[in-house]
């Protein structure tokens, strides 16, 4: 068997557009000020627990930036954190639910805006777990020794789909309102290298696992089709745009009745990782978990505590309440904040967990904090 290199996360960055928007400021951006919508919004916000978020929209609800700009700003923050330039990258892996344009791929657009030199690009599409799919691809290439340095970014500009103009004249149920008052914009990025950071701690990537259970689950989160299953001739690409809009195909929807199933499936995936020994519960120090709403925080936390009795809230990290649910960007935005808060110490392990409702995907990454090489030399 061949020898591979090791992949380390050496730089962390995020970009959240504009000022934080509290719950009272949402309607100014997204609209929906009628009494019925107002009541639904309050109810959804009470359940998801999000207190503030960011939108790339001005106070009139007009876009201020492109998704690719959010991605590039997060990448610059991560590159600056590491002290390298875009020209030092050999690969760029980008995750997003929806880029700004249909063609070309999101990563091509991000690379074009970022600059630097020639590099491999990958656009991982999907929803929340596409973040770790992109990370996995970059980490794999680093391990193979094909590239010395890569960057990974998760970026979302969901707010464009959440504005009132997407809801005018369309009968919207809980399936679209649930997401409308939950999703927001932002980007998070990491730098991946085959050597640890020369003078600061790094996160060694021990493994990444992503699994889809679409073979046994219907679609849960969707856009671009009228029902929950695509029909020949019936997707947004087949019918007139006005008709597609009238049918609500451009609204992001989530079948909320499936979310309990999603939580159960995610917990089963975690259990399996414990059972096959990939997660050693005696040596798991931190959990950074993405979840869409606080309703799932307690479910996930309690499920993990069944296997890790010593898990307490100090070792559990989420910034959902203050940064919002930014889809594929969320896990990187959370990791960045946790990392720079100084809560991780060398030798400790970190589990990233990202369930994706889309059609039941789950991604996990196991990381270990390593001291910079000079300090390792001293301690051993």
């Amino acid at each position: 068997m061949g020898t591979t290199a090791t992949a380390y996360l050496t730089g962390f960055g995020r970009y959240l557009p504009g000022e934080p928007v509290d719950n009272d400021g949402i309607a100014a951006r997204l609209g929906g000020e009628d009494r019925v919508t107002e009541r639904i919004r309050r109810r959804v916000l009470d359940a998801n627990g999000i207190r503030q978020r960011h939108y790339a929209l001005d106070e009139h609800g007009e876009p201020t930036e492109l998704n690719e700009e959010l991605a590039v700003k997060a990448l610059h923050a991560a590159l600056d954190d590491r002290g390298v330039a875009a020209s030092d990258l050999r690969m760029l892996a980008c995750a997003t639910t929806m880029g700004d344009v249909l063609v070309p791929g999101f990563a091509s657009m991000v690379h074009g805006r970022l600059g630097g030199g020639p590099m491999q690009v990958l656009s991982a599409s999907g929803v929340c777990a596409s973040s770790l799919a992109a990370l996995d691809a970059a980490v794999s290439k680093i391990r193979l020794g094909d590239h010395p340095r890569a960057a990974v970014v998760g970026s979302e500009l969901a707010s464009r789909s959440l504005r009132q103009r997407r809801f005018d004249g369309i009968r919207s149920g809980m399936d679209s309102h649930f997401l409308r008052w939950m999703l927001s914009d932002g980007a998070g990025a990491v730098v991946v290298e085959f050597q640890p950071h020369p003078s600061k701690p790094s996160l060694r990537v021990d493994w990444i696992r992503q699994v889809s259970l679409a073979h046994e689950h219907e679609v849960c989160m969707r856009a671009g089709m009228a029902g929950s299953a695509p029909a020949v001739g019936g997707t947004w690409q087949d019918v007139a745009i006005a008709e597609a809009e009238a049918q609500g195909m451009f609204q992001l929807r989530q079948d909320v009745s499936m979310l309990d199933d999603l939580a159960r499936a995610g917990i089963a995936q975690f259990e399996e990782l414990v059972d096959i020994g990939l997660i050693d519960v005696r040596h798991l120090d931190h959990v950074v978990c993405h979840y869409s709403t606080n309703a799932f925080r307690d479910v996930a936390f309690e499920a993990l505590r069944r296997r890790i009795p010593t898990l307490d809230t100090d070792r559990w990290f989420s910034n959902l309440e203050t940064r919002g649910n930014t889809g594929s960007a969320s896990i990187f935005i959370a990791l960045e904040e946790a990392w720079h808060s100084g809560r991780f110490a060398p030798g400790e392990t970190v589990l990233l967990a990202v369930p994706e409702s889309g059609r039941f995907s789950f991604a996990f990454a196991h990381l270990t904090v390593v001291a910079p090489p000079d300090q390792q030399g001293v301690s051993t």
């Binding site: 030092d88 020794g145 085959f194 050597q195």
Partner: protein, 232 residues
């Protein structure tokens, strides 16, 4: 100092030992000297850095690009009475003349810039080594170069793979980042097999044997110098 130098130069080696034994002696001396080379002792101690590996590749590349040209030049200077050696040299030159590309890929794979690498110049040891090889290859029937091959191919066959796995161990490198050094274990083992066949074929008379040993001594010293003088 001048008297001792004169003594050394005038002393012709005793020819009683076999060619193989005499070359083995040169090899042992080279091994001792390599143990003193800073980058190799850091490698042995496990204190070598990624920068060391990059510098080593950078410095080797500037000389390795000349490897095939000097062998080709030597090939063109073997007359028809040395047909076997000419044939071997032509074959060997062909096999080696893309080797530097492997160093370039390794260098880029560990984060180096191809432009910088290609703009690089030989260090003083590489200048001396390359200059000597081209100079020697210009001689009619440069049989002594078998001694140079004995050293250079020997390093590839006996040492390079060990260096590669030690670099991998210390720096956590993937196989695809140490291709040049690992490749040479296989390629140069084949070459040293060919070389031994020639050395024991009866083609080598006493005068040629002296040439071979002398050339091996010079190349051993200059190769070590190249490793000692990184970036200078």
């Amino acid at each position: 100092m001048t008297t001792t130098t004169t003594d050394r130069v005038s002393s012709t080696p005793a020819n009683t030992a076999s060619l193989a034994d005499r070359l083995a002696e040169v090899w042992i001396e080279l091994e001792e000297r390599l143990g003193q080379v800073p980058v190799l002792s850091r490698l042995a101690q496990g204190t070598v850095t990624l920068d060391d590996y990059q510098r080593l590749l950078f410095n080797l590349r500037q000389q390795v690009v000349d490897g095939s040209p000097w062998i080709s030049r030597a090939a063109s200077n073997f007359d028809i009475d040395h047909f076997e050696l000419r044939a071997a040299a032509i074959r060997h030159a062909e096999e080696e003349h893309r080797d530097y590309l492997m160093i370039e890929r390794d260098y880029v794979a560990v984060g180096g810039s191809l432009e910088d690498l290609r703009r690089g110049r030989k260090n003083v040891g590489s200048e001396a080594l390359s200059g000597y090889m081209f100079h020697y290859a210009d001689h009619p029937n440069p049989v002594g170069l078998l001694g140079a091959m004995f050293i250079i191919e020997g390093l590839g066959a006996k040492r390079a793979a060990g260096w590669a796995s030690r670099f991998q161990e210390v720096l956590g490198l993937a196989d695809s980042q140490v291709r040049f050094m690992t490749y040479h274990q296989e390629a140069d083992s084949a070459h040293t097999g060919d070389l031994e066949a020639i050395l024991t074929s009866g083609l080598i008379d006493d005068a040629a044997a002296d040439e071979i040993v002398r050339c091996a001594q010079v190349v051993a010293r200059l190769y070590a110098l190249q490793l000692e003088e990184l970036d200078r």
